[in-house]
């Protein structure tokens, strides 16, 4: 039987605020256990939550970026369950009135664009951490993370393969970092994914029973975990079994998912509006203030790059996936007064390759946009040829000198002096009479030979256009 896979993702992004969503404790990662858990985070008797404005602002930014409705009225609710990393015995979350409504995100898979629906995104507080390394057989609880603001982004069950799920997750990861609402650090748990996976016979309308795979925290594992889960479900059904609705945990070491004991029993979360918090009203003024300061979104930026700079689809896409990269491009362009296309080619080509090789982000590039602009300017004004430029680029990467300094020091300046080029051409024509004859008898291809010889003689510093022009004239006699 042919099977179809249905995947929906719930992604938890920690919002990049200084303080927690309902308290004034720091959200910084990596502090000593429980040193950033204040009275409110610990759920001491009598404490009360007060909502962090920045968390609301960041959620609204996200909502605008996925073209979703921003709820004018949203409500915090208590989700009740007992777990030692949940100090109050309930999580403050949103149920009936999430802050961000229906939106979407476009992904590209195998050269095709697919629109993935986003059902909702809601604000909630993160839980603490259980440390399982043994304390005389006990579990240690660190509540530093408790109360860190989370935006839970829930997709529609629109993905049909692990590959699509990963593409969606990557795109979302790029977006939240682009927007600056989440640092995207997956090792530190800033960006976490739960996947709802089900299978159904191809052509069947109803969804199959789904299993939820919890906390898969790398792109690689998402793909592996989902593929593993798909296989497990198909095998199960084909052997006459039934998929049970349950929560499963992915074990990256064994590359398998297993049922989570702690979530075995069906929960009744008893959601109800949190009486300690009032409804959040987001008015037009709040929204327009955010809109005014909203960074240009990747989609809009891509369009602008294509129209304003005449870039092709591929360069425009690459340059606009990351805000720092796009900013680098535009800064370079502004400084260099060079051709946008040339600039784009250098950044998406040589620079990206070098960064990739060195494992660096654009923000850590050893070549500042000013220094790259200096190189591009010399290419544009014909001081150096493209070939020499690659040599200068190497020097730029290694040193702190400017392109001009490197060109001067290494004597790489392109020769545009017609007299000098002419004398070289004369010499080469004299030395290669056989080829001259061939050319004159109609073998145009030989022309390249002459260009090569001239360039070799001039160590690549001759202006190629000038060489072409002069050679043509001389060869035709």
């Amino acid at each position: 039987m042919e099977w179809e896979t249905i995947i929906g993702l719930e992604i938890h992004t920690q919002l990049a605020t200084q303080s927690k969503i309902f308290s004034g404790a720091s959200t910084a990662y990596g502090a000593e256990p429980n040193t950033q858990a204040c009275a409110v985070d610990l759920g001491l008797p009598g404490v009360l939550p007060v909502l962090n404005e920045e968390a609301v602002r960041l959620a609204v930014i996200f909502g605008m970026a996925i073209e979703a409705n921003i709820a004018p009225y949203s409500v915090f609710a208590r989700k009740n369950y007992f777990y030692p990393d949940l100090p109050k015995g309930y999580q403050i979350s949103q149920m009936d009135h999430p802050i961000v409504g229906v939106g979407h995100l476009d992904i590209e898979v195998d050269g095709e664009t697919k629109r993935i629906g986003i059902t909702r995104a809601h604000l909630e507080e993160d839980a603490g951490k259980s440390l399982h390394e043994s304390f005389h057989g006990l579990t240690g609880i660190d509540l530093n993370r408790a109360g860190t603001p989370l935006l839970e982004i829930v997709s529609e069950p629109d993905m049909r393969s692990a590959k699509e799920a990963v593409a969606y997750m990557r795109k979302l990861h790029e977006l939240v970092r682009y927007l600056g609402i989440c640092d995207g650090n997956m090792q530190e748990g800033s960006f976490r994914c739960d996947a709802n996976v089900s299978v159904r016979p191809k052509g069947q309308k109803e969804f199959g029973t789904r299993a939820e795979i919890k906390n898969i925290n790398s792109f690689k594992f998402v793909e592996k975990a989902i593929n593993h889960e798909i296989e497990r479900q198909i095998e199960l059904i084909e052997n006459g079994g039934k998929v049970v609705q349950e929560t499963r945990l992915y074990d990256s070491v064994k590359d398998e998912t297993r049922s989570m004991r702690s979530k075995e029993e069906a929960n009744d979360y008893r959601y109800f509006p949190d009486p300690d918090l009032l409804p959040v009203l987001i008015d037009e003024a709040f929204k327009s203030q955010i809109k005014a300061n909203l960074p240009e979104l990747p989609q809009a930026k891509k369009l602008r790059f294509k129209t304003d700079y005449q870039l092709d689809e591929e360069s425009a896409t690459i340059l606009t996936t990351s805000r720092p990269l796009a900013d680098y491009f535009e800064a370079t362009l502004k400084t260099a007064t060079s051709e946008p296309k040339l600039c784009a080619n250098w950044i998406t080509g040589d620079l990206s390759a070098a960064l990739n090789k060195a494992g660096l982000e654009i923000t850590d590039s050893p070549i500042s946009y000013e220094r790259l602009a200096g190189l591009l300017a010399r290419i544009s004004d014909n001081t150096i040829s493209g070939k020499i430029a690659k040599q200068v680029f190497e020097e730029l990467w290694q040193s702190t000198a400017t392109a001009d300094e490197i060109i001067a020091e290494k004597g790489l300046k392109q020769i545009t002096d017609t007299g000098a080029i002419e004398s070289i051409i004369d010499k080469i024509i004299a030395d290669n009479q056989g080829q001259v004859e061939q050319y004159r008898s109609g073998k145009d291809k030989v022309f390249a030979f002459f260009v090569g010889q001239v360039m070799k003689e001039m160590k690549g510093k001759a202006n190629p256009a000038e060489v072409n022009k002069l050679l043509k004239a001389k060869l035709q006699g």
Binding site: A39, L42, G43, L44, P45, G46, V47, L48, P49, V50, L51, R78, N80, F82, P84, P87, K88, G89, Y90, I141, D268, R270, Y271, F272, P275, D276, L277, L278
Partner: protein
């Protein structure tokens, strides 16, 4: 000294008739002498003397506020830094609060003397103070009767003069009912007027702290310190606080009093009705006009309240899990055992009953039928009050169906106990301010008159109560043996 009003005490301290240390010692002695009342859970003798010495120093420097050097006591629901804060529960018997409630902080800044923590129904759930882990409080008017609850310790302490005044909290009548049973003045302010930060939550959308004192004049002084916006409480209202003492002597001429016919039906005990009639006649003499109003949905206040309050409490009390503070059972075998036994052993019966009730009302399949329905009825009741308060300035009625009942009389029947809240809980659902003032005696037990006002009209309520207390002396009666 213990018979003096707050104004008189402040005057005595300022003019040097007695020091705060002397005054404090006097109250501490009385507390010791009358410990059989069981009004206090914790007496902070050393802290009280330290506070008094600091207040005396402040008095000599002339940096005086109305409560500087005055010995007061806190309901044991307010968190007090480094002092046991039990909330009347075994669950918190070992809980030394690591921070101060905003209200406590305000009293400290005012230079008040902290005598100790007052007994109360466990987690403020009760109308008789009998659900306290620390045992029932006795009513100073008759030690075989209850002082009311949940602020029963506060009611008894103020009535027996074991504190110059006290704080209470009111979720369904927990200030007004003990005030009525103990013959004192108790005010539940508008929801949001007094910070809830550090006040251990029972039902967050209903809880409100307020003053319990011997007179409206004293209550005004106490409220002045308690009231005000608190950025730590999202439900605190950012509205300036009027001077509550300033208008106490305003005339009541033309005051429009509404009497809800639902309060004065045939169900009302005839003795109680007679006492109320006498009190309302005093108001007529003071120039008030009296008319009947109707609030048809009041009869559903009890069921609505006993869904909403337990629902909120079922979540509010989940934090008591034996992990970070409070009671933990011995040798838990696993996590589930830790939770179940710590909570099962740490909470008393009434608290468990309400947690179960609330858990049920919020659970799948019942949420709409109970919780949402109750919230809708809450709206209708609130609208009833809003409508009535367009026709009249204040609403008057009984506080309790009867005077204080006997210890042990109702504790076995939770529903009968709940029904004794019938006149008070609707006010919490609406969030309105209301006070209870002494209005006479039935069988030597005090009865209270309830006065309900519009939002943020505490000043007017205090004025109305004070005027009555200028022409009556019910509030000046002291129970025998406590003079």
């Amino acid at each position: 000294m213990h018979t003096k009003s707050l104004t008189e005490l402040a005057h005595g301290l300022r003019s040097g008739d007695f020091s705060s240390v002397e005054l404090t010692q006097h109250f501490l002695n009385r507390i010791k002498k009358h410990q059989d009342l069981n009004a206090y859970i914790t007496v902070t003798e050393e802290i009280a003397i330290q506070n008094a010495m600091a207040a005396d120093a402040r008095l000599t420097r002339g940096q005086v506020e109305p409560l500087t050097g005055i010995p007061i006591a806190q309901k044991d629901i307010f968190c007090t830094l480094d002092i046991k804060t039990s909330c009347g529960s075994k669950m918190l018997d070992n809980f030394i609060a690591p921070y101060n409630a905003t209200v406590v902080e305000k009293f400290n800044q005012a230079g008040a003397v902290h005598l100790g923590k007052l007994n109360m129904d466990e987690f403020a759930m009760g109308s008789s103070n009998e659900t306290s882990y620390y045992g029932a409080v006795k009513n100073p008017w008759n030690i075989n009767t209850v002082p009311g609850g949940s602020s029963g310790g506060s009611g008894a302490a103020v009535s027996a003069r074991l504190a110059a005044c006290a704080t209470g909290t009111d979720t369904g009548g927990s200030i007004r009912q003990p005030a009525a049973h103990c013959g004192i003045t108790g005010l539940k302010p508008t929801y949001g007027r007094v910070s809830r930060y550090g006040m251990i939550a029972y039902a967050s959308s209903l809880d409100q702290g307020g003053p319990m004192a011997r007179s409206a004049e004293d209550a005004a002084i106490l409220l002045q310190t308690m009231a005000g916006f608190d950025p730590k409480d999202s439900t605190s209202v950012d509205l300036s606080v009027p001077n509550y003492s300033e208008g106490l002597n305003n005339s009541l001429a033309g005051l429009r009093i509404g009497l809800p016919k639902e309060f004065f039906s045939n169900d009302l005990n005839s003795d109680m009705a007679a006492k109320l009639e006498t009190a309302i006649n005093e108001y007529r003499k003071l120039g008030a006009e009296v008319k009947e109003v109707s609030m048809p949905n009041l009869r559903l206040a009890i069921p609505a309240y006993y869904v909403i309050a337990p629902a909120e409490c079922s979540a509010n009390l989940s934090r008591f899990d034996g992990v970070r503070f409070g009671y933990r059972c011995e040798n838990p075998v696993d996590l589930s055992d830790l939770y179940t036994r710590s909570r099962g052993e740490g909470f008393g019966k009434e608290v468990k009953r309400r947690i179960l009730m609330g858990t049920y009302a919020l659970s799948t399949g019942y949420y709409d039928a109970y919780y949402v329905k109750a919230q809708k009825i809450r709206r209708l009741i609130s609208d009833d009050f809003k409508n009535a308060l367009t026709e009249v300035d204040v609403i008057m009625g009984p506080v309790t169906p009867t005077p204080a009942f006997g210890i042990g009389e109702k504790i076995a029947d939770p529903i009968e106990m709940y029904l004794s809240d019938i006149y008070t809980i609707a006010i919490n659902l609406a969030g309105l301010p209301a006070l209870s003032i002494p209005a006479g005696f039935i069988n030597d037990l005090p009865v209270g008159l309830q006065i309900i006002g519009n939002y943020f009209t505490e000043d007017r309520l205090l004025n109305i109560a004070h005027q009555y207390q200028q022409v009556t002396d019910w509030h000046q009666h002291t129970p025998k043996g406590f003079e």
